[in-house]
């Protein structure tokens, strides 16, 4: 059974994660990369990357940010997407980013992650898919049934 999540529920679930995936377009083709992130109560997402990666090209672009997880007790999978504009954030001038830094946006990956980006949400969508079969087999939870 597919259940749409309210925006409030989406933001609440965004706040529980620390790894998400950024989807973006380069030369007309989709790209996707995992990032560590932090978010605030409006669903604004901040992540870090390093110069020279494809991800450092997202400034000014429309991107999508996705987080998903499994509610093991309820036998359900969920996914939340934030669609919005990505902007490079300069810490010296951006109090929002500073606040998020204070909240502990920590990069798992080695090496410097000195470029900061925010994603300002335009649309936040989420869904939860209940599963009635064998809970140890996560097959069939997501198969693109979205609309």
């Amino acid at each position: 059974m597919l259940e749409r999540l309210s925006e409030l529920e989406c933001i609440s679930r965004l706040g529980t994660g620390c790894v998400g995936r950024v989807g973006f377009i380069v030369d007309g083709k989709p790209e996707v990369l995992p990032v560590n992130y932090a978010c605030d109560a409006t669903g604004l997402v901040v992540f870090r990357t390093v110069s020279g990666t494809l991800l450092s090209l997202v400034d000014g672009q429309f991107v999508v940010f996705e987080v998903d997880g499994i509610d093991e007790t309820a036998q359900a999978g969920w996914s939340v997407c934030v669609h919005g504009g990505a902007q490079e954030v300069f810490l010296a001038t951006a109090s929002t980013a500073q606040k998020l830094a204070d909240r502990g946006l920590i990069s798992w990956a080695p090496g410097p992650r000195d470029r900061w980006f925010s994603i300002t949400p335009l649309v936040i969508t989420g869904r939860r898919i209940s599963f009635t079969g064998d809970v140890t087999k996560f097959e069939g939870w997501f198969e693109g049934i979205v609309s």
Binding site: V19, P30, V32, C81, W108, A109, F142, I145
Partner: protein, 139 residues
Amino acid sequence: MTAADGMEVLDPSQCWALMREADVGRLAVSVANRPDIFPINFIVDHGTVVFRTAEGTKLAAAVLGTSVAFEVDGYDYVAGIAWSVVVKGRATEIKRMQELFDTAELPLFPWHAAPKHRFVRIVPEEITGRRFRVITRAR
């Protein structure tokens, strides 16, 4: 190969081995030149990625015949090792009967293929992977 900063670049066989252990990946597509991401169950089949989608869905419409990027990642809490693999290629519908039959035999599908389902294969043009020791687990 491990760079000085501890980031290990995985070769294709290492990438496929890690992907075979995973159940869920994230498919990035371009819809009207805007990116979207769908989490999907998938299996690895002869050096390709296979998943299914329902007829008439947004995903089915967006993905067939187009370039896609597919990402799988994992984190071993005990070892403190994280990895990520990205496959880029073209998504094609699996139509040939024998091919469909063979695919339905794969463990992706615990029941027989319903006629309303479409099977999609991503034939990779590029596969890249990274693995590293997580430097901080606390958040």
